[in-house]
């Protein structure tokens, strides 16, 4: 499992890095979304992987890391998911506005000289 997860974090991150270097704003916003998946998974996985040990305390089970997975990365990632939604929305509107103002969707708001 660890190897699979590491690979997909790499694939998501690589695709994201490729996209953020592209010249069109839509590609960049897609790239940032992919990067945020990769980073969220990465932070989440730092807390170690566990199956069937959600951090919801049950009566009679001692509240320690033997019996529950690490809740801290989860709460960090939860915040990150919501914030990345907010930044994506902001970026989308900024790119629409620059497109309206400059007439192009190039990241520099002007086309490359031929």
């Amino acid at each position: 499992m660890e190897a699979v997860l590491a690979c997909v974090i790499g694939v998501l991150g690589g695709a994201g890095v490729w996209l953020v270097q592209r010249p069109r704003t839509f590609q960049v916003i897609m790239g940032l979304t992919l990067l945020s998946y990769a980073v969220n998974l990465f932070i989440f996985s730092v807390g170690s992987l566990a199956i069937d040990k959600p951090p919801v305390v049950r009566p009679g089970v001692p509240a320690d890391l033997e019996h529950y997975t690490d809740p801290m990365p989860q709460s960090l990632v939860l915040t990150a998911i919501v914030i990345s939604f907010a930044t994506t929305a902001l970026f989308l509107v900024v790119l629409l506005a620059t497109r309206g103002l400059s007439g192009t969707d190039h990241v520099d708001a002007k086309e490359d000289e031929p």
Binding site: M1, E2, V4, A6, V8, I9, G10, L12, G13, G14, A15, G16, V17, W18, V20, Q21, R22, P23, R24, F26, Q27, G31, L34, Y37, L41, F42, S45, G47, S48, L49, A50, I51, P54, P55, V56, V57, A63, D64, D70, P71, Q74, S75, L78, T79, I81, V82, I83, F85, T88, L90, L92, V93, L96, A97, R99, G100, G103, T104, D105, D108
Partner: protein
């Protein structure tokens, strides 16, 4: 607390005037006048407590853990300054009521004016040096706003900028100096610093501290070579000049010199630096003032010169001179404020300030004329007026000073010379405009101003006369009170009297007045013949030109530097950033060998592998398709998101999985709404790639593969090692007993890390409002304005429910009828589901975020199938209000803990037992979560509906 309230009073008045109607001159002036008068009365009532060397101290602990405190301290000197600041402030408030035109935004003037008064009062009564510097910079900043009050005028913009840069830079130097001074003295408290004078002067860092502090003081008081900003600050409205440039702002510099006089003075370096700057400014200012034709510029250069005199007095290292300096601060403030106001009256009533055009005004405005003549006589140093007394003290000091032989001979001569100049410019200001034949070509026929506009001038001139006639009786005791702390407690012998017998200083005064009168007559005759229009020799030394040239040079240099260090184009910049990141990561890897750990692995499940094969295909597919097939890319992106979501669920993170899936829905909708405004692909253009393109793409691919590979390796290395659990066990252990919830992640969000969550929902609300504001100004590109191609394909007369029939209501009817009916039926169900997730959030997966997003998605479905107009007709959604209520609720929950005596956001759980329901645990965090819920609904709906409304707007063609 009492001194803090005194300081807050002007700031409170500033806020009050800012929200009053902007043209209500009388109301605004009353508020400002009453606030200043109240502050003045308060300050004056403190006199008995400071009279005999008493010091009022007050400390408010601010950040106790860092040892930061707010200290207020009023001794005799600070008291004198506070009286000047508040009393002249009250008079100027009254004057400005009549000066400002009804067309001006007067509320802004009074708001800044009172803010300035507060800042100046802060400088004066600060008992801590750092705190003093903060208020000092605040005065620079507010004076920038006041000088630039006429925002549309170029000279006001330039003058304000120049004043801000010069005094702001000086303030920065002052901060450096004060830090060194505090380091030497071992404390930033003024009391401690004042007591450490000998230690400071003997310290090797003393010269550095002195130079830096002087840079601050001299720039503020417009001393040579920084004097040039003050004449350009005359672009300010005249009440501002009367207040800032006579009594307060420019006096802050000499205030500091006097404040730190017991600590810093007494050395050769002090003598030459302070005394040198003072004498140079005294002469230069007076010399240039003689050749100005604008009334306010005469006063500006005269102010420069008088400040030079005060600086010189403090620079002489003699207690008697310091007393004279304090005395002259008071005298100059009184007559210069009245002169500025008189100049304003002349400007207001005649429409010009040009001395060459004004003449014989005494006939049309006799009262103002008499007041202005008296005040300028005080400025010239004529006996029986207050200016004479401090000037005599200065002459006496100049004569009796024991110093280098050159100084002993030169100083009395230069002092007399400066006095001659002063008589000349005073005569030009007064005699020139009030006597002679009445001028005929003025823009307005001159007449007396309203009575209440003259009253402030009359009161100030009255003070000049009373002090001038009976000094010992009127000002003797307050002067002693003010001067005692400056000279370190023991006052030297001096006598305040008009007549000291026939002595050398009196001879100097007589020489100055008679030679000045002769000089004035000569200058007038020369100027009448067209000569000497500008100051000989020194007119060419234009401080403004040098300043602007330096500014241009600095701007150009920084632009060049920016071009050097920052490559053009976002792509290149990102490439550099990413490459550097990858390379740095490789370097870091040299220290830590990249090898796999030995933690027990979880065996791979085929389903999971298959899942991520799909996920990886989605991710790579989205990357490839994002250029030309946006819809496909969005779909694939959603696929990758879903797989991520399943992964969270797989590895025991139900909360994350829930949040991820609802966010995924909202994000996808968002993208779909945005798609319409992006440029279409123009078919048929062959994709041509040049070699450069190929190289660039290869380079980017390399970085992408490097970054991805690095991430994968890093995450595998981390996953196979035991994770450090520094604080996680704490959260697990305390969630139930202390947080009152079973779901540890939710308890962390709304309780342990609630402060963080408050920040997060604030960001969310801010983003939503920003999106809303950005879209209000949104202008869609022309080719996307029309009807979408697909809708246009259907002929207009076709009887279909997909498009609106011509002439019918402005919305499609019967459009997707079945789904829209279903979503309406689903609405209550989903609201119940949302409520369920919200309520159980503390104990089971769920919570405010998830519940809020569920409600948003339900409402979005209404929008999608029912149409924006139908939905808004039937449901009054006000997203902005949801955001506001949510933020308030969250903040109030937090503040409730403070009221109960606990730190901000501490949770309290109430255990109730209700009939039928049974035992209920109601933690206050529930209310917090309710706030989160409300903000999430408001923000999401605001963002998405703002975007959706663009289509309606575009159709309407607005």
């Amino acid at each position: 607390m009492r001194l803090a309230v005194l300081l807050l009073l002007p700031f409170a008045g500033s806020v009050a005037t800012a929200v009053l109607p902007t043209r209500a001159r009388t109301v605004l002036a009353s508020v400002a006048g009453l606030v200043s008068a109240a502050a003045a009365a308060w300050v004056i009532s403190l006199y008995p407590q400071v009279r005999d060397g008493g010091v009022l101290r007050e400390t408010i602990s601010w950040v106790p853990s860092l040892g930061l405190e707010l200290t207020f301290r009023i001794d005799g000197f600070a008291w004198m300054f506070a009286v000047l600041v508040t009393v002249i402030g009250a008079l100027v408030s009254l004057y400005a009521r009549y000066y400002m035109s009804p067309e001006d935004p007067v509320a802004r003037f009074y708001a800044f004016f009172l803010a300035f008064m507060g800042a100046m009062l802060g400088v004066v009564i600060s008992g801590n040096l750092i705190q003093l510097v903060v208020f000092w910079e605040l005065t620079s900043f507010v004076s920038f706003l006041l000088i630039g009050y006429f925002t549309h005028r170029l000279d006001a913009q330039r003058g304000a900028r120049m004043a801000l840069i010069v005094t702001g830079a000086g303030g920065l130097a002052l901060l450096g100096g004060v830090v060194i001074l505090g380091h030497i003295a071992g404390s930033y408290e003024l009391d401690a610093v004042l007591a450490a004078g000998a230690q400071v002067r003997a310290h090797p860092l003393y010269p550095l501290a002195l130079v830096l502090i002087l840079l601050g003081a001299l720039t503020k008081s417009a001393q040579f070579p920084f004097h040039f900003w003050l004449p350009h600050a005359m672009a300010a409205p005249t009440p501002v000049s009367a207040y800032l440039h006579s009594a307060t702002m420019v006096k802050a510099g000499v205030f500091l010199l006097a404040r730190l006089w017991p600590v810093l003075s007494g050395t050769e370096l002090w003598f030459w630096l302070v005394g040198g700057a003072g004498i140079a400014t005294l002469l230069l200012g007076a010399y240039l003032a003689m050749f100005q034709n604008d009334l306010k510029r005469v006063l500006a250069y005269s102010t420069v010169s008088h400040l030079g005199l005060i600086t010189l007095l403090f620079g002489l290292n003699s207690p008697l001179a310091a007393v004279a300096g304090v005395f002259h601060i008071m005298n100059h403030a009184t007559f210069k404020a009245s002169l500025f106001m008189a100049a304003g009256v002349v400007d207001h009533e005649t429409g010009t300030r040009d001395i060459r055009r004004l003449s014989g005004l005494i006939r049309s405005m006799p009262n103002t004329g008499v007041l202005a003549l008296a005040a300028s006589a005080a400025m010239a140093g004529v006996p029986l007026l207050n200016g004479f007394l401090s000037k005599e003290m200065f002459f006496a000091e100049a004569v009796f000073l024991r110093s280098h032989p050159y100084v002993e001979v030169g100083l009395p001569l230069l002092a007399t010379l400066a006095s001659i100049f002063a008589v000349v410019y005073s005569l030009r200001f007064s005699y020139d405009i009030f006597f002679g034949p009445p001028s005929t070509d003025l823009p307005r026929a001159p007449e007396e101003p309203p009575r209440w506009m003259r009253v402030p001038i009359a009161l100030l001139v009255l003070a000049c006369v009373i002090v001038g006639v009976a000094p010992a009786l009127s000002i003797g005791a307050p002067l002693a009170t003010a001067a005692r702390p400056v000279v370190g407690g023991a006052l030297p012998d001096y006598s305040l009297a008009v007549w000291h017998g026939f002595n050398l200083p009196l001879v100097m005064s007589i020489v100055a007045i008679s030679l000045g009168t002769i000089g004035y007559l000569w200058l007038r005759a020369r100027q009448a013949r067209g000569g000497l229009q500008r100051a000989p020799i020194l007119a060419r030394l234009d401080g403004k030109r040098l300043f602007e040239r330096a500014l241009v040079r600095v701007t150009r240099g920084s632009r060049r530097l920016l071009r050097l260090v920052q490559p053009e184009g976002l792509q290149t910049q990102l490439f550099v950033i990413l490459t550097v990141a990858v390379v740095l990561a490789l370097f870091a890897g040299r220290e830590v060998p990249l090898e796999w750990g030995d933690r027990a692995r979880i065996s791979a499940s085929p389903a999971f592998v298959l899942l991520w094969v799909i996920g990886a295909i989605c991710a790579v597919g989205a990357a490839v398709m994002a250029k030309f097939h946006r819809l496909v890319a969005i779909t694939l992106m959603g696929g990758a998101g879903l797989v991520t979501c399943v992964t969270f669920a797989w590895f025991s993170a139900p909360d994350l999985a829930l949040t991820q899936i609802v966010v995924e829905v909202v994000t996808t909708t968002l993208f779909l709404l945005g798609l319409r405004w992006l440029p279409m692909r123009i078919e048929g253009i062959p994709v041509q790639r040049t070699l450069a393109d190929r190289v660039r793409r290869a380079r980017h691919l390399l970085v992408a593969v490097g970054a991805g590979g690095g991430l994968a390796a890093l995450s595998y290395a981390l996953l196979t090692r035991p994770a450090p659990h520094s604080i996680s066990p704490f959260f697990l252990r305390h969630a139930l007993p202390d947080g009152g919830g079973h779901n540890v992640v939710n308890v962390m969000l709304v309780d342990f890390r609630a402060f963080d969550t408050i920040g997060e929902i604030t960001v969310l609300g801010t983003v939503a409002l920003t999106v809303f504001a950005l879209l209000r100004r949104f202008r869609p590109p022309p080719e996307t304005k029309g009807q979408p191609e697909q809708q246009g394909l259907i002929a207009a007369e076709t009887a279909t429910d997909l498009v609106r029939p011509g002439g019918a209501e402005d919305e499609p009817r019967g459009y997707v009828l079945v789904p829209s009916l279903l979503t309406r039926l689903l609405l209550p169900v989903s609201l119940v589901v949302a409520a369920y997730y919200l309520l159980r959030g503390h104990n089971a997966p769920g919570g405010g975020f998830v519940a809020g997003l569920i409600v948003s998605i339900t409402m979005l479905a209404q929008y999608m199938f029912g149409g924006a107009r139908w939905t808004e007709r039937h449901a009054r959604l006000s997203p902005v209000r949801w955001i506001a209520i949510g933020l308030l609720l969250a903040a109030l929950t937090g503040l409730g803990a403070i009221v109960a005596g606990y730190p901000f956001l501490t949770t309290h759980t109430a255990h109730l037992s209700l009939p039928l329901v049974g035992d209920v645990h109601l933690p206050s965090a529930t209310f917090f979560d309710l706030g989160v819920f409300s903000v999430v609904i408001g923000a999401t709906l605001l963002i998405l509906t703002a975007l959706a409304h663009q289509s309606i707007r575009a159709r309407r063609g607005t």
